[in-house]
């Protein structure tokens, strides 16, 4: 079933359109940086964006920093929101269920497919932006990359820290995927489910900017998204990364269970 869902995702023109959009933004940023040579002042703007003018090998991280706060979650919300509601909308859900495909099985396959998309998206963005960084932006200093704490990282160290960061970005999207999947079981409108999910993310971002909501901050799904930056400090600052992991796994568990509880006994009326 997972294989079938993956094929469905790959065969959909929409998947590739979203990927193209995800790649287009960092590409635009790379071109603008290369042409103007004007980075944000250190400490402002998306992470790593000031550093890439000197060191193009950091551009994949800058690209993820650009894509992560908005574009990638929207893509995940759209795909996740489409998972069940989209099948419901085309009427294919009832034919899948009488094929028969187990409801739990279908949910898990849909969730796995969204995660697979995140994987694909993160790797495509990283690969394309790596190439762009090497071609358009600064060459890596011979002495090695400079960490955010000022010390120098070897090529090898930079490699595994980047791998960790990519993994963290993927995990950061699990919560969004699970929320979208849950909304997708509530409605027969794929757009409604996607918008609901985006609404949750917007609310989370708004609350993060509000001091009065301080007590809620550690539980908000978007709180630790950019914590992957801490992986490039020396020594690595694990605190936020670990918290981010726990928060995402929490959202994943709660909303997947909610989706399962709702979908498992739901009357399929359309």
């Amino acid at each position: 079933m997972i294989v079938v869902e993956l094929i469905k995702m790959i065969c959909r023109p929409r998947t590739w359109l979203i990927l193209a959009m995800l790649v287009a933004l960092p590409t635009l940023v790379a071109v603008l940086l290369a042409v103007t040579d004007l980075g944000p002042r250190p400490g402002t703007g998306p992470p790593f964006l000031s550093a890439v003018l000197n060191d193009g090998t950091l551009f994949p991280l800058a690209a993820l920093g650009v894509v992560l706060p908005l574009l990638l979650p929207i893509a995940v919300a759209v795909l996740g929101g489409d998972a069940i509601a989209g099948e419901s909308q085309t009427g294919t859900l009832r034919y899948l269920l009488v094929r028969p495909v187990g409801r739990t099985h279908l949910l898990l396959a849909k969730l796995a497919t969204v995660v697979a998309f995140v994987l694909l998206a993160v790797f495509v963005v990283a690969a394309v932006s790596y190439a762009e960084g090497r071609l358009l932006l600064g060459k890596a200093p011979a002495t090695g990359t400079v960490s955010l704490s000022g010390s120098t990282l070897t090529q090898q160290e930079l490699g595994w820290r980047t791998a960790l960061a990519l993994g963290y970005v993927i995990i950061s999207m699990l919560g969004v995927a699970a929320i979208a999947l849950f909304f997708s079981t509530l409605t027969t409108s794929a757009i409604g489910a996607a918008l609901g999910t985006i609404g949750v993310l917007v609310a989370s971002t708004v609350l993060l900017g509000l001091d009065a909501a301080d007590a809620l901050h550690p539980f908000l799904p978007t709180r630790y998204w950019l914590a992957f930056v801490d992986l490039f400090r020396d020594p690595i600052l694990w605190r936020d990364v670990v918290r981010g992991l726990v928060v995402q796994l929490g959202y994943l568990t709660v909303f997947t269970l909610a989706a399962w509880a709702n979908f498992g006994t739901k009357d399929i009326d359309n």
Partner: protein, 306 residues
């Protein structure tokens, strides 16, 4: 019930099947009985509960109370055993619009856990498409299909795995008269080979032409369930059409059962003898013959009584 009823096993049997949505009883205490080899016509107006019943049989909607047994097993508990042996068309066909008909069937086929070998799957997809008059080589996306072609594709999906029971909701929707005839012929062929067919429709003519049994649903209640031959058997009345209405009814007196416009229903065993008598008495007879009720009259009558 007829004698064949007791010799054949039930393919569908429901007991007091009920689905309530709040105060509304969409399906209300329905006892369906469909036997192996039947072509069962499930009649009812739009909104009478046909589709909800079909969805309960397939485990898509859970009954509020009552039981449904399909192929001898409880639904929805036994759905993983039962559903692979059922082909169904629920309400309307559905397919991914950006993919071809063949690709759609391949995805649906591969979704199940009862995998067959790739070449077996490809053959049966081709066969099913040809059966319903679609070209397996057609690469156009379903988006470009006409409604009739979509309906055929939905039927192909139902036939794909050679089911022992076909549950078809309005199978002739969107088909032209020629297409309806083609599909009817195909379904009757499959029935002759042993497939039981449960067909829901609001078209009386369709049911009358195809079915061996009829069930009529009205406002969620099953108001009639009977073998078609029993329903349509001669009534013991003779219909006489004559311009000499008054003379004729005076002549026949008590044996006249009813008078409608220029049609006289007469209690008589033998139309030929009655004809000879009337003509002998100088009554002009336009038309005479045994009177049979149409399915429409029977259904309307049952609805009036319900």
């Amino acid at each position: 019930m007829t004698s064949s009823a007791t010799t054949n096993g039930h393919v569908i049997k429901t007991r007091a099947l009920t689905k309530r949505y709040g105060e509304l009883r969409a399906v209300d205490g329905v006892n369906l009985e469909v036997r192996a080899g039947d072509v069962y016509g499930f009649l009812g107006a739009n909104g009478s509960g046909k589709t909800t019943t079909v969805r309960m049989l397939l485990g898509l909607v859970l009954p509020t109370s009552g039981e449904a047994e399909v192929l001898g097993m409880r639904m929805p508990t036994a759905r993983h055993t039962v559903l692979p042996r059922i082909g169904s068309l629920v309400e309307s066909p559905a397919a991914y619009p950006h993919l071809s008909g063949t690709a759609n069937l391949a995805l649906l086929d591969a979704s199940g856990s009862d995998r067959s070998r790739r070449d077996v799957r490809r053959t049966r997809i081709g066969t099913a498409l040809e059966q319903v008059g679609l070209n397996p080589g057609d690469r156009r996306p379903v988006r470009t299909y006409s409604q009739g072609m979509r309906q055929r594709l939905g039927l192909a999906a139902a036939l794909m795995r050679q089911p022992t029971l076909l549950i078809l909701d309005e199978p002739s929707n969107g088909l032209d008269p020629h297409g309806i005839q083609e599909i009817r012929k195909l379904l009757l062929e499959l029935n002759a080979e042993g497939t039981t067919i449960f067909l829901s429709s609001h078209l009386l003519a369709e049911i009358e032409q195809m079915c061996t049994h009829v069930g009529v649903l009205r406002d969620g209640r099953l108001i009639l369930q009977e073998e078609l031959d029993t329903l349509l058997r001669p009534t013991g009345l003779v219909a006489v059409r004559t311009p000499d209405m008054d003379v004729c009814s005076e002549l026949l007196g008590d044996v006249v059962a009813s008078v409608e416009d220029d049609l006289l229903l007469v209690r008589a065993e033998n139309p030929a003898r009655l004809n000879a008598y009337l003509v002998g008495e100088g009554v002009r007879v336009d038309e005479i013959g045994p009177y049979r009720r149409t399915l429409e009259e029977i259904v309307l009558d049952a609805e009036a009584r319900a």
